[in-house]
Point group: C2
Chain length 413, copies 2
């Protein structure tokens, strides 16, 4: 008998029929004698529908009221899933985020979980109940409903697994697991049987959004074993854990475990920034304060008195960036700024590259051979990212997937 946390995303509970399928799957896990806690997202398009409703009323809804509104989506799906399980003869209870003891930090629309008081969940386990918990939400110290922001249900699941000291946290999604590249783009992409937290983080941060990065960080911190798998079939998915043996099903050693890409990328550049200490802190501190999530950062580092600073971020932040950079132009001051949103990012990831320093060179050579020009470059110990023209990103991913030996020979035609 184990404690199992399962998480089902919005598409897994997108209709009555799907909810019933998910219910049968949960029942199977419970019937094996496990204590089962299930985190569930809002049904299919519920969140988008609610946002559309809010947009009919105002272009600038107060974040507190958006959280009040959006948190109803999960509350509906937990109730419906509990009904479906009850109809299957299971003992079950649904709990909102606050009933399940999620304490959050009060930052509306992007709250962090501070702690989970899981007494109620454990009490329900003792009564023999399957516990269905609303993901994506918690209550702050003032009794206000907070949401964790998009994709926050993954984090809700991992946090509950930590609090319950669960044996496994299964993340059910609409894909079979984590692939060496996006299988919609790369026909020869292979499913990884295992991947480490760090690799998963790099993959997640770079567009392979099977898991929300924050949830992987939390799993790494508390060493929660994740199993990313499909809610539509019973194939084994991908295990995410510390000491993952990459591609254990293959004999040859893999240096790179996957190729990720992200087309929701734009580049911003500030020209002629004064070269004085603290200037980068000023720029990126202001961007953070304005709620812009910056990804890659490149500073030319010339010896001149003034230099150029570039960074990438998601295209949804265009409005915010324009405002922030206009302000910085005056306060820094800087000469001018430019935005470019016809780019994409391609990355190769793998713990193996720490001991194989030629990976970057190979990556640049492969792209050059394809006639693809590289924009910005950013590296970490286990990943290398480049920006390329968005028209060329498909070709870049395919070429890198082949060059790093990731193609599934069986799938090759």
């Amino acid at each position: 008998m184990a404690i199992v946390v399962q998480k089902f995303g919005g598409s897994s509970v997108g209709s009555a029929e799907r909810i019933q399928r998910v219910a049968r799957r949960i029942r199977e896990t419970a019937e094996k004698g496990n204590d089962v806690a299930v985190i569930v997202s809002a049904m299919g398009d519920t969140t988008d529908d609610l946002i559309a409703l809010a947009e009919q009323l105002t272009s600038d809804p107060p974040p507190r009221e958006m959280d009040m509104l959006l948190s109803t989506g999960e509350q509906q799906s937990i109730a419906l899933l509990a009904m479906a399980l009850d109809a299957l003869g299971c003992r079950v209870v649904s709990l909102t985020g606050w009933q399940a003891g999620y304490h959050t930090d009060g930052l509306f629309s992007k709250a962090k979980i501070l702690s989970i008081d899981c007494c109620r969940v454990q009490e329900e386990f003792r009564k023999g109940n399957i516990v269905i918990v609303a993901g994506f939400q918690g209550l702050d110290a003032h009794g206000e409903i907070n949401t964790l922001g998009r994709g926050g249900s993954d984090t809700s699941a991992v946090a509950l697994a930590v609090a319950l000291d669960a044996d496994i946290c299964e993340i059910f999604t609409d894909v079979d697991g984590v692939y060496t590249a996006d299988p919609r783009m790369v026909k020869t992409a292979r499913k990884m049987s295992e991947v480490s937290y760090d690799e998963m983080l790099e993959m997640a941060a770079m567009g392979a959004v099977v898991l929300q990065p924050r949830s992987v960080e939390l799993a790494k911190q508390y060493q929660v074993v994740l199993h990313v798998r499909s809610s539509f079939n019973y194939s084994e998915g991908t295990i995410v854990k510390e000491d993952a043996v990459m591609n254990k099903d293959l004999e040859k050693e893999m240096i790179v475990c996957g190729v990720a890409h992200d087309t929701n990328v734009m580049k911003a550049t500030l020209f002629g920034v004064p070269d004085r200490p603290g200037i980068a802190g000023e720029i990126f501190g202001q961007l953070a304060a304005d709620g812009v999530n910056v990804d890659m950062i490149v500073q030319s580092g010339n010896r001149d008195e003034r230099q150029d600073v570039s960074f990438t971020c998601g295209r949804q932040d265009r409005m915010k960036i324009t405002r922030t950079l206009s302000g910085l132009m005056k306060t820094l001051p800087a000469d001018s700024y430019a935005l470019l949103d016809t780019i994409a990012k391609v990355s190769v990831v793998g713990a193996g590259m720490i001991t194989h320093p030629g990976v970057a060179a190979t990556m640049f050579r492969v792209l050059a051979e394809e006639g693809i020009n590289i924009g910005m470059i950013s590296t970490s110990e286990i990943k290398i990212s480049c920006t390329v023209d968005e028209e060329q990103v498909n070709r870049a991913v395919l070429a890198l997937h082949t060059a790093f030996g990731l193609d599934d020979v069986k799938s090759c035609s």
Copy 2:
């Protein structure tokens, strides 16, 4: 400066445009310097849509999970209404039932409000906020979400008016006020400018469902003055209070203030029930335990050893009644039972009839002249109800409305 509680029903907030109109109306009240607390129902068909979703999953959803599901409807409308007010430049905050301090008795789907701890609402008033509160819901002693049952938002509003010691409780609805009969059926029906709690209760209990009866009882108990009015125009509606002067706009004394009817009626009869003390308690105790709301009760009271007991209730209870009566057949025992659902109820109401004993006779005569056969009869100090064939109910209402001098001469053609 006064404390004003306003309640808007589901049709008043059925679309973005209607929510904006309601928001403007609330702002007007706040701008006069009043502290305003607003109870709001779920948008238009939200509750029905959610019930339909649940029915796709199970024919017998657990009441606890239904409450979890249905309470989201009001949570959505409070958030949206708060956004609309914020967009108008108002200071506003929305509160769920549990945030607003509604303590309920734990009876899922038909909970009663035990108390309201209105500290939070008062704190928000002190901050200068308009407070939007989710109707229809509360939290029980175990931290479970309860709903008050259909129409419970009226009761939420009156209870909050009591707790806040409000000066007025305005019930906004899709009709102009309380009429002497259903204006869709009786063209000459007149709006009453005032009506007493008791009369309103009798009207409400008999199909003129402008207000939920429980909310009127509560208003009577605490002497909360209600103003029932349209959310679509600025006409004065109907004031409900203790010392109402009926039809004060008319010179002649009115004995009957209104004619109500209800077509959601069915009759059940138990034949050959043993005539021993406590038998009625047994029958109606069991019906109450099974959740059947019984309305009229008639016992033949013959001198025989066995007698017949009839009662009326809503048609939605057909399944429950069949089960209960089948059980009682064996335990009492009784000879047989019968159900009849082609009937309707017509009632005349008026405090004046206490001093005018001829009202019942007039009513029976008028119906006889129309060739309408009377089934069951039930009387109280201020109302007389009869069941008639449902095909004849329209004719009965029109005839009684005219006979008791309620026709609006101006509207007569």
